[in-house]
C-alpha cells in the first residue's frame, strides 16, 4: 500500500475530517468532492503539512512523521495554489531541483519543458495558467517519483491542455510499480485515467468505487411518480425529486434493465453519480 489513511481525524472551526482510504501500488486513485469537502485537508495530512488528531497516515508503509528524506524524494507533488516562488524562472529552478532531489534528471526535464513550449527565462508568475500547470507536473515527474500526489493539477485549463496532462500521467503509469493520488473538480477527466475513486463530502468518505464498476454498473433511472410507486427500491442508492418524477441512482443497473425493459436509464457518468450521491436523498 503506497498511501494508507486509517480513521484520520482533524478538526477546524466548523469542519471535521474523518477519513480512511488506500492507494495501492500501480493504481491511479482519485479523491473527488465539492469545495471544502476535505480534499486539501486530506492531502495536507499525507504530505505532513498538518498533523491528525487521531488515526494514522502511512506513506510507503511508514508513518509520515518517520519518513526519511530519501523516501520523501520518491513523492512528486503538485499543489493547486502553491509552488516555487513566482519570481524564479525555469533556469533558476534547475540547480535548485538538482540539489533538492538526488534523482533529478536535468536534461530530460529541460527537453520536456522545451517540447511543451515553456520559456526557460520567463518568471513563473509570468507564465500562462496552462504553462504553469504543465510546469508543475513536469517538476513532479522530473525526479523518478514512485508516487504522485496531485491536488487539482488540471484546474483552470482548457480541454487540450488537460488532455496533454492526462496523457503525461498515463505515460507515467506505464511501469507498473507507480501510483497516483489525484484530486479534481473535473471528474470527467478521471474516467479516462483513474482506476478507483473516493468521494468525500463534509469531511467523510461517502463512496469508494472502481471506475470500471461505476461506468459499468451504475445508472441513472428517470421515472414518473407512478413508476416509482411500483419500483423495487432495494437497489436504489439515492433519489432526487424532479419535475417529471424522480431521478434514481442505482449501482445495479442491469437488474432494472432486465426487469423493467422500457424504463429510461442513463449510463452513470462520474459527475452524475457524484451529484446524486451528494445532493440526492438516501434511500
Amino acid at each position: 500500500m503506497l498511501v494508507k489513511l486509517t480513521n484520520v481525524e482533524k478538526h477546524y472551526a466548523g469542519f471535521r475530517l474523518n477519513c480512511s482510504m488506500k492507494v495501492p501500488e500501480g493504481s491511479v486513485t482519485a479523491l473527488l468532492g465539492p469545495n471544502g469537502a476535505g480534499k486539501s485537508t486530506t492531502f495536507k495530512a499525507i504530505l505532513g503539512l498538518i498533523f491528525p488528531e487521531a488515526g494514522a497516515v502511512e506513506v510507503f508503509g511508514k508513518p509520515v512523521k518517520q519518513m526519511t528524506k530519501e523516501e520523501k524524494e520518491k513523492i512528486g507533488i503538485v499543489l493547486s495554489d502553491s509552488c516555487f516562488s513566482g519570481y524564479l524562472n525555469i533556469e533558476d529552478l534547475t540547480p535548485i531541483l538538482r540539489h533538492l532531489y538526488s534523482r533529478f534528471k536535468k536534461e530530460e526535464f529541460l527537453t520536456r519543458c522545451k517540447n511543451f513550449g515553456l520559456p526557460l527565462e520567463k518568471k513563473i508568475k509570468e507564465l500562462s495558467t496552462g504553462m504553469a500547470a504543465k510546469l508543475k507536473i513536469l517538476i513532479a515527474l522530473s525526479h523518478d517519483a514512485k508516487l504522485l500526489i496531485l491536488d487539482e493539477p488540471t484546474a483552470g485549463l482548457d480541454v487540450l491542455a488537460r488532455e496533454e496532462i492526462l496523457d503525461m500521467l498515463r505515460e507515467y503509469m506505464i511501469p507498473g510499480d507507480r501510483s497516483i493520488l489525484i484530486s479534481s473538480h473535473i471528474s470527467s477527466d478521471l474516467e479516462g485515467l483513474c482506476d478507483d475513486f473516493y468521494l468525500i463530502d463534509r469531511g467523510t468518505i461517502v463512496m469508494h468505487e472502481e471506475t470500471d464498476v461505476l461506468l459499468g454498473n451504475y445508472g441513472l433511472l428517470k421515472v414518473t411518480e407512478e413508476q416509482y410507486r411500483t419500483l423495487d427500491t432495494g437497489r436504489i442508492l439515492r433519489r432526487k425529486k424532479e419535475s417529471f418524477g424522480y431521478s434514481l441512482l442505482t449501482d445495479q443497473k442491469q437488474f432494472y434493465q432486465e426487469n423493467m425493459p422500457g424504463i429510461t436509464m442513463e449510463k452513470g457518468s462520474i459527475d452524475e453519480v457524484i451529484t446524486m450521491m451528494i445532493r440526492g436523498e438516501e434511500i
Partner: protein
Amino acid sequence: MTGLIIKDWKLLKRQGRYYGIVVALACVLSLSGSQNFSSFITTYLTFMITMFAFSSFNYDDFDNGMLFLMALPSGRHDYVKAKYVFSILLITGGWILGVLLHLTLFTFRFSLADYLEILPSEPVYLLLCLIYIGFAFPLLMKYGAEKGRNLAFIGLGILAAAVYLIAKTGVRLPALLLTFDRLLQTSPLTALVILTAGCILVLWISCLLSMRIMEKKEF
C-alpha cells in the same frame, strides 16, 4: 539544504540593484562625513544586508509558497538550517564589502595607520547583526515574515530607545558593558573572542529554537 540556499540566493540576486544603490548612497555619505563617522559605512551596509536576509522570508510566505516548501523532501529542519546558513553567509559577505569600502575610503581620506586603530571594532558590527538575527529569526519563523519582522523591529526599537535614554540621563551603564568597552580598547582580541563565542551561542540556541517552532507548525 543547498537547494534552498540556492533558491534564496537567486531570489535575492534580483534585488541586487537595490543593494547597489544602498552601497552607492553609503559611500557618498561616508565620504562627506568626519573621521569619527567613517564606521558608518560598515555598520550601514551590514545592517542593510541583514534586512535583505529578512526579505528572503517574505518570498517564501508570498502566494502560499510555504505549503509547497514544507512538503518538499528537505522538510522543516533543512528549511531552518538553510535560512541560518544563507543569512550568515550573506551578512558576512555584506560586512566584508563594508570593511573593504571603509578601508578604501578611509585610507583615501585619512591614513592607513589610523584605520588600523579602529579595525578591531569592525567585527563588532558583524557580530551584533548576527546576534540580532539570532533573536529575530525565531520570531519570523513563528509569526511569519511580516508580523515577525515587525516584532523584531519593535524589539530593536525598544533597545535603541533604552540605550538612548540611558545615555541621555547619564545613568551609569551596567558594569558589564563598561568592562566590555574597556576590554575592547585594551585587549581587543579577547573582547572579540568573547563576543564571537556569545554570538555562536546565541545563533546555536536560536537555530534549535527555530527548528522546534517549525516542527510544531501546521500549514
